[in-house]
Every structure is written in C-alpha cells, then in structure tokens.
Point group: D3
Chain length 323, copies 6
Amino acid sequence: MTTSVLPITTSTSHTPPPSPWMQARQQLQYACDKLGYDDAMRVLLETPRREFTVAVPLRKDDGTIEVFIGHRVQHNSSRGPTKGGLRYSPDVNLDEIRALAMWMTWKCALVDVPYGGAKGGICIDPRAYSTAELERVTRRYTSELLPVIGPEKDIPAPDVGTDEQTMAWIMDTYSVNTGYTVPGAVTGKPLSLGGSAGRGGATSEGVVTVSMLAFARRGIDPRYARAAVQGYGKVGAGAVRLLHDAGVRVVAASDQYGAIYNPDGLDIDAVQVYFETSGKLAGAPGTVEIDRDSLLELDVDLLIPAAVEGCSTRRTPAEFWLG
Amino acid sequence: MTTSVLPITTSTSHTPPPSPWMQARQQLQYACDKLGYDDAMRVLLETPRREFTVAVPLRKDDGTIEVFIGHRVQHNSSRGPTKGGLRYSPDVNLDEIRALAMWMTWKCALVDVPYGGAKGGICIDPRAYSTAELERVTRRYTSELLPVIGPEKDIPAPDVGTDEQTMAWIMDTYSVNTGYTVPGAVTGKPLSLGGSAGRGGATSEGVVTVSMLAFARRGIDPRYARAAVQGYGKVGAGAVRLLHDAGVRVVAASDQYGAIYNPDGLDIDAVQVYFETSGKLAGAPGTVEIDRDSLLELDVDLLIPAAVEGCSTRRTPAEFWLG
Amino acid sequence: MTTSVLPITTSTSHTPPPSPWMQARQQLQYACDKLGYDDAMRVLLETPRREFTVAVPLRKDDGTIEVFIGHRVQHNSSRGPTKGGLRYSPDVNLDEIRALAMWMTWKCALVDVPYGGAKGGICIDPRAYSTAELERVTRRYTSELLPVIGPEKDIPAPDVGTDEQTMAWIMDTYSVNTGYTVPGAVTGKPLSLGGSAGRGGATSEGVVTVSMLAFARRGIDPRYARAAVQGYGKVGAGAVRLLHDAGVRVVAASDQYGAIYNPDGLDIDAVQVYFETSGKLAGAPGTVEIDRDSLLELDVDLLIPAAVEGCSTRRTPAEFWLG
Amino acid sequence: MTTSVLPITTSTSHTPPPSPWMQARQQLQYACDKLGYDDAMRVLLETPRREFTVAVPLRKDDGTIEVFIGHRVQHNSSRGPTKGGLRYSPDVNLDEIRALAMWMTWKCALVDVPYGGAKGGICIDPRAYSTAELERVTRRYTSELLPVIGPEKDIPAPDVGTDEQTMAWIMDTYSVNTGYTVPGAVTGKPLSLGGSAGRGGATSEGVVTVSMLAFARRGIDPRYARAAVQGYGKVGAGAVRLLHDAGVRVVAASDQYGAIYNPDGLDIDAVQVYFETSGKLAGAPGTVEIDRDSLLELDVDLLIPAAVEGCSTRRTPAEFWLG
Amino acid sequence: MTTSVLPITTSTSHTPPPSPWMQARQQLQYACDKLGYDDAMRVLLETPRREFTVAVPLRKDDGTIEVFIGHRVQHNSSRGPTKGGLRYSPDVNLDEIRALAMWMTWKCALVDVPYGGAKGGICIDPRAYSTAELERVTRRYTSELLPVIGPEKDIPAPDVGTDEQTMAWIMDTYSVNTGYTVPGAVTGKPLSLGGSAGRGGATSEGVVTVSMLAFARRGIDPRYARAAVQGYGKVGAGAVRLLHDAGVRVVAASDQYGAIYNPDGLDIDAVQVYFETSGKLAGAPGTVEIDRDSLLELDVDLLIPAAVEGCSTRRTPAEFWLG
Amino acid sequence: MTTSVLPITTSTSHTPPPSPWMQARQQLQYACDKLGYDDAMRVLLETPRREFTVAVPLRKDDGTIEVFIGHRVQHNSSRGPTKGGLRYSPDVNLDEIRALAMWMTWKCALVDVPYGGAKGGICIDPRAYSTAELERVTRRYTSELLPVIGPEKDIPAPDVGTDEQTMAWIMDTYSVNTGYTVPGAVTGKPLSLGGSAGRGGATSEGVVTVSMLAFARRGIDPRYARAAVQGYGKVGAGAVRLLHDAGVRVVAASDQYGAIYNPDGLDIDAVQVYFETSGKLAGAPGTVEIDRDSLLELDVDLLIPAAVEGCSTRRTPAEFWLG
C-alpha cells in the first residue's frame, strides 16, 4: 500500500498527470511485461474493437439548434456483451472514453462476469440544459447507436452527469425501436422499471468488503485499524459510513474543496450533518482541515481512493489496487 | 479558371496546404457565408452523422499478428443511403476520411442522386501485404461494420489502394452474413459479379464531357483549344485520350515524377507507349520536360487537375471547380 | 364485506348492471379520486394502448365460408409484456375485452409481476364448430396477430371457451412462423408442451389462500367460519373442496341453474357426485334449494364470487375485493 | 348521368344521408347482387382484414397531457400492400375510416395497381394544436403502428387535415426505426424527400381526363359541352381550370358557402382572383349566386362532384360514377 | 445434328440410359475437358451447394397420416438467387433433382440472367390426392424450407406435376410468414397474383425462335425446311403450331403412345382436333403411324426433342444442343 | 444383461452387422410393436424432419481446392431445439448421421430435457489436414448452415473427430454473423468461452451412476461385483477409473487393438501408465491378452460398451440397455 511499483508513475507533482488513455496503456504495458506478452499481443489487448462518434443535434427549448458530439467505445467483447457507463461532461473526449472502456474490460474480467468493457460519453455540460433538452439529447444519441447496443451487444449504465432518468430514456428509446419493453438494455435504471435493489450502495459495499478481506489476510483487526477516505461523493461517503459500522476508525476524509482530519476518528454523524448543511467537509466539528494531498500520505492502515480518476497526482489508482 | 475567389487559399508556397478537413470546412464556411446560413446550420452541415473506428487484427502469413485501424465516416444520410470510397493507405487518418465524406455528400447532392456521402479507410500500405492478407484484412473490416453498411445504409466503392477485388471481398462477406448474394452492397465490383459497364472510364468521360460543355458555353471551338492535364493515372491518361479524340490539342501532362510539354500538342500515342515502357512521362518523344508546378500556369484554355487531392500547392481543387 | 362503498353500484335490480367497460371505468374513477389523480391521468390509465380487430375467415368442413371477428386489446405494457386470456364466445365484444384487459393490467400490478394487461376474444360459439374448424379459426386469428404478439410482447392464455388445445395451436402457429418452438408464446399450454404443473387449480388455491389470510387478519378461526360459494365451475368447485379441506363449513353453493343450502355445511362429496351425474347442483342430497341471489345475502363469514363477471346484480365484483 | 339506378339512394332530402360505412356496404351489396355473389362472399369482401385503434398521448406545449384515439384500417391486402390516406379531424371515427378503406380497395383494383386499400385517422382538430404538438402526435401514432406499416405492408398518404409535412414526420419516424431512410414508407411526401412531381394536380387531371374520354365515347365535342363543378378545393378548382383549357364551358361552381352560375360560362380567371381575395365564390364577377343543391340539377353535360363525401344529399357519389 | 460427339452416349438400345445425374456429370466432364479445367474445378462446379430433404407429413382427408419426402437442391448461387422448378412425381429422387438443378445453373448462365440453378421435388403422385391434400402437402413442404427460400435466395417454379395453383399456395405460405404479400417468392404464379403474361407459351416460342436463328445461320429457308417434333405436351404441341406458322413443313410428331408421319407435312389443325378428341396422336387423319424411335432418325432439317428427359434412348439431349 | 430379446439382432457373426440406420429403424419397429403404434405413426417417428447436405470447398494450404460433403440431420424438434454431435470422419454418410440423429431424439426424451435430436458430419479425415485447413472447413460448413442452426434451433456438440476447438470455431462463425457473442450456439466449447465444467467426464460418470443404480435394484453389492469395459477412450478409461473408485473389480478392458484380462481385477494405475506410454492396452502388466470379442462373453456382472457404435458383432447396443 505504500511504495509505488510502477516506474511510470514517478512523476513529480510539477508535471501534469498522464492522460487516462496514456495511463491505461502504461498499466497494460506493465501487465504485459509481467506476463511476458509480446508487443503484438499488447496492441491487440489495447486497441478498442469499435469506436463510434456521432453527431447529436439538439433543437433547444428556445428553438435554436446546437450540435453535440457523442462517443461510445466498445473495447473488448471476447467474454460477452460489453458494458459500461455513459458520461455527460464538457470534458468528455475520445481518449478518456477509450481508457475508461479498457478499464471496464479489466474490471469485468477480474470479477469474472461474462461481459466486456465499453464506455460512452457526450461532450455536454448537463447542468446547462433543461431536463427536456437532456431527454432529447439522450434519445437522439441512443437512436444513432441503436444498431450496435442492446442486451446482447453493449449495455450502458449511469456515470458522471447521468443517472437513473438518463437510463430510463435510453431504455425507452431502445424499447420503442424493438417494439416491446427491454429492461436489459441498460443497468442502473429506476427500480420501478426493473432496476436492481441495492445498486446505489454497491460500490461502497464492494470497497469495504474488499478492505475487510485485505485486513483479514494481513491479520489486521478492523477495530484497531485507521482509515482515510479520499472523496465524499456517493462512494466515499458510503464507505466512511460502512467502515465506521465495521469498527474501523476513519481519521480523515476529503472532498473537492478540502480535507478534514481527526486522529481519534471522525464523528461521522456530525460530519455528515455538517456536510449536508454546508456542502463541504472543511470546518466539520471536531476536525482540523488539512491539505488534500496530505490525506494521501497519512499514516493509516487503509486509504480509500473514491474520487474521479486522475485526482491523485502522486499515485495512480493502479497503485492502490496493485500496491 | 484564373483568379482565386477564396481568401482562405491565398497561402504562399512556403506554408503547407491546409489539411483536407480544414480545407473542406473552409469551403463550407465560404458557401454558408454566400448563402447566409448561420453558424448553427453550418455546424449541422459540417458534423459527420456517424464515425466508426474499428480494430482490424490480421494474422499474417508468417503467423504473427498485426492490428490495423480502420475508419468509416457517414457524413450525411438525409438524401438517402450514404456512399463513398474505401482507401487503403498508410496515410489514412480520420480527418482526411471526414473531409472526403463531406465532399461525397456535396457531390451526390450536386448531381442530384438520392445518396449521401461517406468515406472509409484502413491505415495500411497495401503493397506491403500479400493478397491473402489483404483479403483477411478486408473481410474483418467489413465484418466489424456489418450492422451499419448495406444497400440501404452505406455503400463502399474502390478508392486509392483498393480495387474491384476488394469490393468483391466486401460483397462476399456481406452476402455470407445475409445468407444470399447482395450485389447492391458495393459499387465498383467486377463486371462478372454485377458491376457496371463503363465504370472504369466514367471519371475521364465525365471530366471531358463537362469540359466540352464549358467550351460550348464560352464559345470556344475545341479544335482550336489547348489543354494541360495534371496527373496521368486512370483519370488523367483517360482524359488525355478523350480530349485528343474530341480534337483538343493537349500540350502538357504530368505524373508524380515530372511534366512534359509540346506547344504543338503531344503525340499521345507515342507518349502512351513511352509511359507503358518506362513508367514515367518525362522523356517522352517530342516533348520537353518542364517543372510540375509550371504545368499549372501554362497559358491553356483548359487545365484538368487529375491528381490526388492536395497536390496543387498554389490552387486548391476548389479553385478549379469554382474559378 | 357487507356495505357497498361505491355509489355507482347502487342500481336497483330493475336496471341492467353496468357493462364491464363502464364498470371498469367507474372503478378506475373511484381509485383516481381516492389517489387524487386528475382527469388527464385517469384517461391515460384508462385508454388501451392498442386494440386490434381482425377478420377471421373460416372455410367450414362443408366447404362454405364464414367470417368471424376477433379482437385483441393490449391495455398497458409499461411494466412489461402484456398478458391475458383469449375468449371464444358469441357475446364477445370490444367493450368487454377492453374491460378485461384493463383488469389484467391491475391484477399484474397488484401481484407485482413484470407484465401488463391484455385480453382477446373471437365472436364465435365454440360448441357449434368442429375441432378442425376451431383449429383453423385459431390459427388464422393467430396469424393475423403475429406482428404484435410473442413472449416479449403479448402472451395469450386460456379463458372462457378456450383451453390447453387452443393454446397449443397458437403456440404452433407462432413457432412455425419463427422457425423454432417458442413455448413462451402462450401460458396455459399442455404440460407436455411445457405447461406449468398446478395451473389448473391455481385460481381456487389463490382464492382460498387469500381467504385464509383474511381470516387470520380478522382473527377468525376457519374451523368456526361459514362460507358461501357462487359458481361451481373450475374455480368454484375447487374452492369448495379446498375450503372444506381447510376446515371451513361451506353452507351454500350455486351454479347457473340454482343454489343449494345447508346451514350445517354441505356434504361436499355427495354434492360433487350428484353434480357429476345430474349436471347441476339443485337437488343435491342434504340440501335445500334457495334463490341464486339469496346466496349472496346469506349470513356467512366468507362469500366467494366465482361466476363469470356481471353475474351478481346487486354487488359488483369490486365490492367483494374492495368491501 | 341522370337517373339513379341504386334504390338504396332514393332517400328524400328530409332523412340524413347514410353513414359512409352504411353507404359503402350498400354499394357492395349492390355490386354483389349484380355479380351474383352470395352473402358469404359479400361478408368476406366487406369485413376489413385488420383494424387498429391506438392511444396517442400528447404532452402539450403547456405541459398537460391529452390522449387522442387513432385508427388504421387495412381493408384488403390480397392484391398487394395496402395504401390510403391519414385523416386528422375531430369527426374521425372507426366507421368512417372503415368505409374509406374499402373504397381505397376498390379504387386500387379499378385502376389495376398492385395495392389494397387502407385508411387511417386521428380524432383531433389539427387547427387547435401547435406544429410541435402535431409532430409529437404524428410520431407517436406512427410508433404504435410500426409493426404493421411499411412499403411492403401499408403506406399512408395525406388526406383531410394532413399534408406533406405530416408524411415527412411519418417517414422520419419509420426511418429512424429501420435505421436508414425509407422513402417508400409514405406517398405524398415533399418533393425534396423523394415525393412525386405532379402529385398535387393528379386528381384534377384524372377527373378531367376521364371526362374527356366519356365525351369521346358519347360523341360529345368538348368545345360545345357545358359543365358544373361541385367543390372548389384543390380538386375542384383544378378541374375548373383544366376543363376550361380543354375548351369546355364551365357554367357553375360551388364551395362550402354557396354556388355561382353563368350560362355563358364562367370567366375563370376573374373567378379565381375573386376567390383568392374573398375566400369564397359567391359574388364573383359575372356570376349569379344559386342554391348549392341547384347546381346538382343544372342542365349540363358534365357534373363533377369534388366535395368531401356525403355533401350531396340527393345523389351519392356512386350515382355519378355508375349513372 | 447428326453424329454424336459424346462417346459416353454410345450406349446401345439394350442398356438403360444413364441416370440424369450421371448424364449431367458426363456433360460437365465433357465441357471441362474442352475448357481445360482440372478435376478440382470440375468437382467444385458439380457439387451442389446445398441440398435439403424434408419430411412432409400429411393428415389425409380420411384422417390417416402419410409422410412424404421432399427435396430441394440449390446447385450454385454465385451469379444470384437460385431458381428452378418444383416437381411432384412418385419417381422423384435426389439424384434426378440434383441433375435438374445443375442444368438450371447452366441455363441461367447461358442466357446470362443473374440467377443460379435449383430444383425441388416431392415424391408423391399428385393424381392420387385431393386438391385439399395437395394444398396441405405444398404448404408444409414450403414451411420447412422457409429459412432458405425467397426472392433473394431461391425461387420455385412449376414443373412436372405442379402448376399455377401450387405456386399460389407456396406464395401464400411464404407471404403469411413474412406478414405481407411477396409475389417475387415464386415464378409461374397465376396472372391475377402477379404472374407474367406469355409464360405459358414461352418455352415453345423459345425453341422455335432458336430454330429459326439456326436456320438463318446455316442458310436454310424455313419454307423449304422439314421438321420432326418428339413430344406433344405443352411444349411440343406449341412448337408444332409455331413452326407451321413460320412456314416450316412439320412431317412427324410423337406422344407417349406413338408417332405419326406424313412426308408432305402434317395437317396440324386436323391433328390437333384428333388429339383433343382421342387423347393420342396415332391414327390422326392423313398420317401413318411410325415407331417412336424412328422419328428420331427421320431425314429432317430440324428435330425438336420436347419430351421429358431420358426419353431418347439413342441420343441424349446434349446431342441436340451440342450436335 | 444376457439374452437378447430383439429377434432382429440374431445375426450370425458371418453376416455384417446392420447399418446404423437399419439398426435404429429396427429398434423403432420393436418399440412401436410393443406400444401398439401403427405404421403411419412409426414412419412419422422415423422420418427425419430436415436433412441438409452442403458442399464445403476448401482452399488447402498448398493453394489447391478440395470439396468436402457435410451433412446435418435434424430428426425431431417437437420437444424443443435439436441438439447433437458433429462428426469428422472419412466414413461419414447420411445413413449413419440419420441414425445418430434419431438416437439423439430418444436420448433427450428419455432424460426428459426439452430438446430434440440432431447429428452432423463432414466426410473428411481430420488427421490429414492442418489446423488452419480444419478451421476453414468448419467455418464454411457452419456458414452454410447458419439459417437453420442456433440456440433456439439446433445446437452442435463435439463428437468423433471434433473437439472443443471445433466448437469454438462454430461459435465464433455464428457469433460474427449475429453481431455478438452467442455461447448458446454450441455445447462442448472451451471452459474459457462458457463451456460447462465437468463435461469431460460426464459420460463416464453417467454410465457408472446408472450401473450403480442397476446394482442397487438387483441387490448386487458393488464391492463383490466384476466388470468388463469395452473401449478405452475418454468414456471407457473414465469408467474403469470410476468403477474402481466405487469398489468394483474391473477384470477386463479393451481398445481397438486388443483386450486385457485379469480375473482378480486389473491394477488400473499400472494399466493407465502402460497405456499412456505404449498407446495400447495389450501387454499391460499383470494382464493376459484375450480376444476382443471374448471380452463380450466374460462372466461378469457388468459389461460396459464404450466403443463406437457397431463394434459389437454379436449384441447391438440396444441389448445392453434393454437387456
């Protein structure tokens, strides 16, 4: 958990972190070197099987037209249909989507489910458009991809900037096309449309379950363990709660504005109340504010990276999982 | 034919010519300005409807694996199925394909056929691979695009680096998938598979037919006209022959190695025999060699640009057609 | 169980009962009022999504032709494929089918299965036609509906005038069309074709199970309870038997010809033997005959309505379920 | 052209005219009697093959929801795909659509084109809704019918209350579903989308062409013939012009407000100018106003009924064509 | 026309003629030898691409069940969809169908239409079954072949034992499956269902047209030419009539019972009247009866073989066409 | 287990054994006689529903072409999709495949799984061709059968001459055609592609499980039982091991070269080591060699026939299972 084993990540804090795609390729290179795979095999594992870029014209509520660019990358379908999130953000670009798709391939393979990896995105700031506009954008994007998605081909899921409602629109667009309701066209849809119970907290639970297993393997008693959690979104806040429930002392947490610290453990109920009121962690009762990067170097038994990718300038996500 | 009306092309010979996509966008901008279309409309007309990038793994004859990148851009299908060539070249890139696809949209609209524009390409040097390897590459590329091509959707044609045989492979791959022979899946296929008679010379004939109409409109008698032809491939050599048959005096011609000139008109039979023997024009009997760029500035009544796009550093193709 | 809460059903015995569709709409109105839904929502919930009426020409065994009218109403498919019975009766009309389809939507939603409601019918007296004729009628009706039925769209089931054999014909017609056997095209098919064990007695079991739960909730000991069962078909006779097995004293039962009563409880074995012999209940040993309507007003703990809809002139089915 | 041969049309002017479906059935009965067809055959010819009724929910521009009822009747597809208009009117009902569909079957058979008859309609007043609302209504209606329409199945066309734009919406909805542009999905689409040139005036031209043939057969010289035209819409006004161009003296014309008459022939240019200005015929220069019904009894060689069906209370359309 | 060039056909009259398949293979061998094709190519050209054998159970009018065997051979589809007749005969066997399919491939290629060759058959004596039984047999056979036939795949036509009605059943079975009328599914259908005018006499006309061309090439004046026609079915009787109309003296004709001869030419009207009355040619007025085999050795300028294949024991059909 | 009850198998050792198809039909005849089924029913049960024969051209590694014949017989699909092995052997012929398909129908029915029986084969010696050639043969054969196979229609499995790799090729060819991975297209695929764990030993386990049940029913203690196993392939060798593990004394075993015997029981570890080294059983330590046919007449409690069908000249497989 401490020393980096990936020379490619020894960048100083002065240089920008590698792009997601660069990073993902470095990780693959590292793995291929470990496994003794030659370059041809690496290129085969790296090159996405299919990439789609589509125009998404929107007639806005004010009658004007704006054209967005949407992507979908299906990285590898050897193990089954591809699956992966759909991201709405002004920063979306093909390189990022490509990296996220390859990571999905790896994730599916690691947990041995019969799926491959994909990822999609539209280059749009969802907060700048009305719900009706987002619906039209989503339906048009889905329409353009109809021949290449579906329960047997490629299955979208919510991601940054999209949610249950987005999935409901995709599912409906797809279903109108087939002529009957196809709940399997997306995951992360509303419960009332066939969504899975427990999906909301699944990532937090997974992270904490794995952490408990790691503790057990290393002979660490959770009740005497200390943890720091980077990120306080759906995953991070959930992990803080579940770690606490498991007896772990959570000594630090951070959000996009700052980090808080209490060596004796956070009063997580008080922190949560404060966060809901103020919209940030810094200043929570019984905590001192520390530098966000310092959180990553605290002397803890467990460090949970629960921010968006690329937020850690010193260690790549791979370190956490491989370290 | 003489003065450029496009300010965007007044580059000096020292700067590289704009990329095809840049050039195509400038042409669209010029047209939209003329037509009074606003920016939203221009972006709508410019953005390709769908772009596909696929991995094309090849098991080479020596057993090793190589992965190529293939593209297909469907620019606009409002007027009907898209159609456009498929290019095999190590220089293929998405920007070039995008430009060629938009030009196809315009060409189809100009001659008022119910088709839209598309273009495809694989980044491969076809001379460096065996026929069996090229067949496997072509079939795999076709397989990946199966859901989005076909007589009602998008119809490939030969282009630089591909030919009748390539189209036959695509047609067969498509037909095996549908379960029956689908000649409409490609154009430019061999005559024995349903190809169109006369396709080979169609471009030359079109160029010369248009030239004769231009002469007629301007009151020029072909028998007293002088022409220069840039390029001596399938189109250029055919145009030389047809112009000569129409009574025009062809005074200059060029290929990738040089240009030839005879102010009294080339002896085209002698030139053709020389070219077939030596593989180049320079040195043909009864001609003097001139600079290739000089050919573009000869005092002629007709200048035929029949080289690949971007070969003229002083005038863009648009000049010739718009000038 | 006693007083009607629906003012719309306070019709006297002199006026005809409301038609099924009228009745169903009144029930929906009642529910919408309770839930505070506005009229637009009520109309949306009420209007069937799709209604099909098809001509069903039959070449009869004697060579003459007769044309029947068949209906299929798919009321609401928001929750999944629609499902519902297929009725063969000379009384079939679109209003009745429409009502039954809406009731199916409600039933599926109440038991929370991912299906919507549908219903179908052919206006034919099945007793007046040979088996071969009924097969041809069924197959033709199915053929006409092929584009809109199927395991993912709409799934027929047996109802009044149809049975396992009818479902087998539908399943076969559907399967010939798809090219392979599709057991999911119908429910209620013969066991040998994939039908569900226990389907025959499922309705009786369901009615009695619910009754026992109602007793438990109200603190009634079944061994001291008294029941009356209206209808002695597959459902009614089954309920009589199962209630008796559960210790309930069944004091009255009725069929389309009359009703029987014994305040000390019917000797159900004797009643069944008598019914099988004589084809009616009236006159069964150890019983007195009473008026059919009187059965509905007996002082019992449990009244099971197991006749076709609309048979009770004083209380609508809704009373029983809502009362 | 004079005496009615259909006893079923001898209704006095005091009784309302028969409904379209009643009328159509009477016409069929009359034809079957003539042809010696028995009742079974008549019922077979009469019963529509398939009738669809669908709910068309509209979210209006003000956010509220309204549900419309749409119909489509495919009367007979023995001779090929069915075709027929789509009508938007608050008076649309299944009986009317049924009659119009049967008439389409007859029309297609009479001119011996390989099509059968269909007709559709939505019960909506198109003038009371915005273009955006009508688009949403049209697209939803089309969506619901997707499995049963198309170039090989059933082809909509414009009719009362719908136009080229409506057809463009239908074509686009259908095309999005198939994944490529399908111009054959509708007739009457805009020219720019593949519509047929000359469609606008086709009905007038047909009426006048038939009239000239009738004159020729009866030995009437058009230059000495006199005509009256009932209705001054697209068909009627066109017929007036074309008759005049053919040398026929048009002595009377009518619209929904009144009729005009000039025994020496209308000055059709002046009439047209007046009509375009005032929106009605009555008062046109050089004409006297007469009773609308009187027009039908003028002593003319040719009477053109070009109003909507049922406008003539004394003679049914059948008279004109059969008389 | 006289000496056999095929050594493989020098069988004496004592040995049975080669089977159709043997014969067809010998013809192919002969052609490959001429063309210098090696054995691998010959086997490739010879082996049918796909052969289907299906069980055709029939519930007979008397309720019993009989199972027939049906075949369909698709010999070669390289040039387009396969097409070929469907034969009902108790003698049908796979070898015969295979040969006929290969001959169809050759015929289509010779007249350069974009079709390949196929042939089908059911081993049934059509005269021994009712029309209703034949309909059920035809529909079931068609059903079994649904995935592999159709306008783009394989198109049946009438042949020995089948006719327009058979084709109408096939077309209807196919059309019910697709959901709309598909006239292109068969050729040889009734005119009222879209059949081609002139099909009935097409073979006779073709034979006589070719004969006239042969006369012209050899400088023979038809008015001085003498012809013999073997077979007096649809083709033979038609050819007799058309030759006579072209001025040729038809001196002999034969049917399955015998042959007739008149060196001065038959009185073809009298012969036809006699044949229609008596059902045979022998005994026709103004003729002498000769041995059927003698007809093949008459001294004529033209010999038309218009009987079923294999009827000539001395010369194979190939002689006539190749000789 | 001892006396034959099938009169049709009383052939002496001098006559060749009946062909598989003859044998299978005799078994069916026997069963029908027992069940009192008439001939029509027997023919219905016997006749395969569909038989396909396809040409499989192979361009060999040396550039020459060879054409193979492939078969697939779908015997009966009444109970569900058909399934059955695919055999590569130079002895493959339609009669054999037909018999094996009917046996598959029976096997599926006996164990009451919702499948019917099929079988396929290509007439090729797989040991004489390279892996690349076998791949091309397999893919082409699959391509030809695409319209009639698949998870809902007919599912191939490995058999003599084919293995996991063959199934992987079929699955991939099928999946490329559908556009997504379809693991259900074959059984017996590699575990990494979704194959079933335990499939390898399933037949041995089944044989031994059934044997143990037979012992139990007959009151035989396995520890005192003696067994002989004919065949030492995947099934036979596995059965020897499992019987030994169950305590049974295996006294004899045979392979295609000879048989070994030890009345005290084979030392199965030693036998296995010897077999792996020498490729045959004869000569294994602690055994005497006996005649292969003698093995079938040893005085044992259990005789396991685990050779290919037809290897026993004295008793048909039916004896063992029915005896």
